[in-house]
């Protein structure tokens, strides 16, 4: 009896403890249920604001789901769920607990629509809610959001968060976010001046954007301080802009180098005017596409390795096609540049149309592996990972090619044939085979360039067309027959192009570069680094 009573009391006690929590959860559910009846964006926005106003960390899940477009209403009973798509049906999760609570066919549920304005409202709301998140990265994101959308109401939660913060970096960001909010509040002038000083130190574009609007909306000392801070930020940014142009130039140069390096062999070393060079690049890109398709369907875990797997295959495919072209067409045309030009042009059209027939005329999707997506900041300079990897990759390919040419017997034979074909032949070198393999090597290199270029450009049958002119430009400018010339040529063209672009625009910039090259070729017909010796006359 006593025991029973004790149990009863404990139960009561437990219930009493649980009840308030339940009540608030029930409130949240009641608010969430309103999503089902919101018929337009402003109605949905009202519900989002109401949810955010509760300040309960539980609302993070439904709000984040809504922003991602995975919050659904079940048509049958107007209940709101977070949906996880898988094939034809959608797995329904409870919006608050995240527990699985059923499945539904796509036709039985309606997605709650969001637009950019709503996403912004949700992002701001989540910013305030995630100030105390465990993960520092989430807190940093919250600070960034709050900095971008300053609001006087943010000051209090930020004050509390700053007091509780242990990570110095996150704390500094919180303080900046607080300063931004102070600037739009009605705090005292002294507070605002301190805030401007704090934001001025930050010195990036977001700070500039904020200070510009402060400058426009205030008077007196605050306005002057903002103007001064804007001046300082602008001068540092001007410095970074120059750095940015150099980086963009190097990055464009690496793309040019990749595209041209195969041509530096087929045209530069062998002297074949190879108009089908761009199509070798395209074949490499399509190989990447096929590899990714196979990986997606059969080994999804390997996706991040897809490019590494595609490299040797792309080399092989392009090299084999190159070998076939050399044996089938070009070997009959050595010493007849005009016919070679026309024949390889024809081959390029055939290859394009073949790919168009097999894969269709539309773009194919080649995904970026995770290590090639996004960017990181160096000072005020955003460096994208894919560009950085392409730079590293192009330099590796260059080094490898240089090694093959200078340090291997095959490279020696290649150079011997180029320097003096008849003498090389009389020394016992099988010149036809050297020709064929050299052409295959040049084509194969173009193929692996295609793997890299598939990351930044369209994978379509026209892919090669866009690179052929630039490639010839680089090789001719750098000096025919000289690998170093191609390297220097590619990077100088890239950098000149990127320094011209902000002033002249992309169209005019390109024209100016072309005119400069024409003038340069008049002065030095053999390019930057001309080959010397008898070979040149042959």
């Amino acid at each position: 009896m006593v025991l029973l009573r004790a149990i009863g009391l404990t139960l009561l006690f437990l219930l009493a403890n649980l009840l308030p929590a339940n009540a608030s959860e029930a409130d949240l559910r009641a608010i969430i249920a309103k999503f089902a009846t919101a018929t337009n964006f402003s109605a949905t926005e009202a519900v989002v604001r109401e949810l955010a106003a509760t300040g309960d960390p539980l609302v993070e899940r439904p709000l984040a789901a809504l922003a991602e477009g995975s919050l659904y209403v079940r048509r049958a009973d107007s209940l709101v769920f977070v949906g996880k798509e898988g094939g034809d049906s959608v797995e329904l999760l409870d919006p608050l607990s995240g527990e699985k609570s059923g499945e539904a066919a796509k036709g039985d549920i309606t997605k709650i629509k969001v637009n950019n304005t709503l996403r912004r409202v949700i992002r701001d709301a989540l910013g305030t809610l995630t100030l105390r998140a465990k993960d520092p990265a989430v807190r940093i994101a919250a600070a960034a959001t709050m900095f971008k959308t300053p609001d006087a109401a943010n000051i209090e939660p930020l004050d509390a968060a700053i007091a509780a913060e242990t990570d110095a970096k996150v704390k500094a960001l919180f303080e900046q976010a607080r300063a931004a909010s102070v600037l739009v509040s009605d705090r005292s002038e002294a507070d605002k001046l301190a805030a401007i000083a704090l934001i001025g130190v930050r010195g990036d574009r977001d700070a500039l954007s904020l200070l510009t609007s402060v400058e426009a909306n205030s008077q007196g000392a605050v306005k002057d301080a903002a103007t001064a801070a804007i001046g300082t930020i602008n001068s540092t940014l001007a410095f970074w802009d120059a750095g940015q142009n150099i980086w963009y130039g190097i990055s464009l140069g690496s793309v040019l180098l990749l595209a041209a390096i195969g041509l530096a062999i087929t045209f530069g070393v062998m002297g074949v005017i190879n108009m089908a060079h761009g199509e070798m690049v395209m074949l490499g890109a399509y190989t990447t596409f096929v590899v990714q398709e196979v990986i997606r369907s059969s080994f999804p875990g390997l996706f991040d390795w897809s490019l590494v797997i595609a490299l040797p295959l792309a080399f092989l495919v392009a090299a084999l096609v190159g070998l076939a072209i050399e044996r089938g067409v070009i070997r009959f045309l050595y010493g007849r540049p005009l016919e070679t030009l026309l024949a390889t042009w024809g081959v390029s059209l055939i290859l394009q149309q073949a790919v168009r027939t097999i894969f269709g005329p539309t773009n194919q999707e080649v995904g970026n592996p995770s290590w090639m997506s996004g960017s990181f900041d160096v000072g005020q300079l955003a460096i994208t990972w894919n560009r950085l990897w392409i730079l590293v990759f192009s330099l590796c390919v260059f080094a490898l090619l240089l090694y093959v040419m200078k340090r291997t017997p095959w490279g020696l034979q290649m150079r011997a044939v180029t320097a003096n074909r008849r003498m090389a032949a009389s020394m016992g070198i099988k010149t036809p085979w050297v020709d064929a393999l050299t052409f295959a090597l040049g084509s194969g290199i173009a193929g692996i360039a295609g793997v890299a270029l598939s990351q930044i450009d369209n994978v379509s049958p026209n892919l090669g067309r866009g690179y052929i002119i630039d490639s010839f430009m680089v090789v001719v400018f750098g000096g025919v027959g000289n690998l170093w010339g191609t390297l220097v040529g590619a990077f100088s063209l890239g950098i000149v192009n990127k320094f011209l672009e902000p002033y002249a625009g992309a169209v005019l910039g390109k024209i100016v570069v072309l005119v400069l090259i024409i003038l340069f070729i008049q002065k030095r017909p053999r390019g930057l680094f001309a080959l010397k010796g008898r070979a040149v006359e042959a």
Binding site: K113, L210, Y248, T362, N363, S375, G505
Partner: protein
């Protein structure tokens, strides 16, 4: 001799009978079908966009034949390949009309290809259906424009961005490929924005070459322009192949649609097919049709398309809908005129009304442009668009922009007695000039 003579007469008469029989058979063969020309590039740069339209036309013709053809005859498609080569467009158009004797031609994509075939169509008096959104400033007797004019795409898109729903944009980047459509559209938009009180320093116009692939400088310039403390948006008339690297760079440099949305006029489902759209969710496009539109007509169209092309992943897009509307209008006009004679069909076309795929009716207006709704869609993670805004009613295509000084007094009306594509209401004369 007599016998001989009779033999000769017999032979001659037999020959005549045979010949006339043969001719009759031939005439019957020609009478049995109505030929429809399809003038879309199947190779070269534009094949990426135009091949789909060729297939869509073949599907529409096949369906019409399954319904019993037209005027009791079967339709026969004549497909030619102008290979993305503008002068070749004119040659192929001539071939279609003079040699194949087609009753109408469906074709062209770029404005320059349309301009190159115009003289051929007016000389040989045939009909062209042009299915792509374009810069306006043109109205020809022999051409029916089923794509959007600037006021059916560009102006409503900008209006949306200026509205509260669209984010009350105050600063504008007009980014385009360097050719006639972006240049004219941007000229109209610039004039329109200035009329709406946007200051000149809040508009940045930039052009890039065709097939441009290195967008680093442009994207960082957009970022820079967007950090002036005012809500900024990009209006993109970037064409075709250049879009994929543009969007990839936007995604990589972290430009989110919530901060700087990009509104595109040339990016449809087809262009997004080559792209991982997860980083692009929320960027916008303005069209008159999206594949995601939820109407029974559209569901049927998509199902038919997948069946015809034997690939469930192939998308549908706005120019396909334009051909769908244009083809059905032509069928109706031919039925109304009772003949395929282009002269009669051209007159019968005006006022013809057919269902579009977005749940309404499109009507051919006297200026040879059609009425259609304008939809604004946001890119979704699955490569589709979700409509976030739609004009309440149908918008009538306005060929001569009201915002350009050279064309604001011009109107077009191909009904008798006016029958003029560029009537100047200020001078009361036919033959005013546009900006092109």
């Amino acid at each position: 001799m007599r016998g001989n003579f009779s033999t000769i007469t017999k032979m001659v008469s037999a020959g005549v009978v045979a010949a006339s029989l043969l001719m009759a058979v031939q005439a019957k063969a020609a009478d049995d079908t109505i030929k429809v020309g399809i003038l879309h590039s199947l190779s070269g740069t534009m094949a990426i966009s135009e091949t789909t339209l060729k297939d869509a036309m073949l599907m529409l013709i096949e369906e019409q034949n399954a319904k019993g053809g037209l005027l009791g005859k079967k339709l026969e498609a004549v497909v030619v390949d102008p290979a993305s080569n503008w002068p070749l467009f004119a040659e192929k158009a001539r071939e279609l009309i003079s040699k194949d004797k087609v009753a109408a031609v469906f074709g062209c994509w770029t404005s320059v290809s349309r301009k190159s075939v115009l003289p051929v169509f007016s000389e040989l008096d045939n009909i062209l259906f042009y299915p792509v959104q374009y810069e306006g400033e043109e109205s020809e007797r022999n051409v029916f424009y089923t794509g959007a004019a600037p006021n059916q795409q560009a102006i409503p898109a900008v209006d949306y961005l200026m509205s509260e729903d669209g984010g009350s944009v105050k600063r504008w980047v007009l980014e385009g490929t360097d050719y006639v459509y972006p240049r004219t559209t941007n000229k109209i938009l610039e004039a329109y924005l200035k009329a709406k009180g946007v200051a000149a320093e809040d508009i940045m116009v930039n052009y890039t070459p065709f097939g441009f692939s290195d967008w680093q400088t442009e994207v960082s310039a957009i970022k820079k322009f967007g950090s002036a403390g005012k809500k900024t948006a990009v209006v993109s008339t970037v064409n075709g192949d250049a879009n994929v690297p543009f969007y990839k760079e936007l995604g990589n440099q972290g430009i989110k649609a919530e901060d700087i949305p990009v509104m595109a006029f040339s990016v449809g489902e087809e262009e997004l097919a080559g792209l991982d759209t997860a980083p692009l969710v929320g960027h916008l496009a303005a069209w008159n049709y999206f594949e995601s539109v939820d109407t029974p007509e559209n569901k049927k169209f998509i199902a038919d398309w997948h069946k015809f092309i034997k690939n469930d992943k192939r998308t549908t897009n706005d120019p396909m809908e334009a051909h769908y509307i244009g083809f059905n209008m032509w069928v109706k006009a031919v039925e109304k005129a009772g003949t395929t004679d282009p002269d009669k069909v051209i007159d019968a076309m005006i006022g013809v009304s057919v269902p579009n795929l977005t749940g309404g009716y499109s009507t051919m207006m006297p200026n040879h442009h059609i009425t259609k709704p304008v939809l604004i869609g946001e890119i979704q993670a699955d490569g589709q668009f979700e409509t976030v805004s739609q004009t309440p009613g149908l918008v009538m295509g306005d060929e001569w922009s009201d915002y350009l000084p050279d064309s604001k007094d011009l109107i077009s009306d191909w009904r008798a007695p006016l029958s003029c594509g560029n009537f100047n209401v200020a001078t009361g004369k036919c033959g005013g000039k546009g900006t092109n």
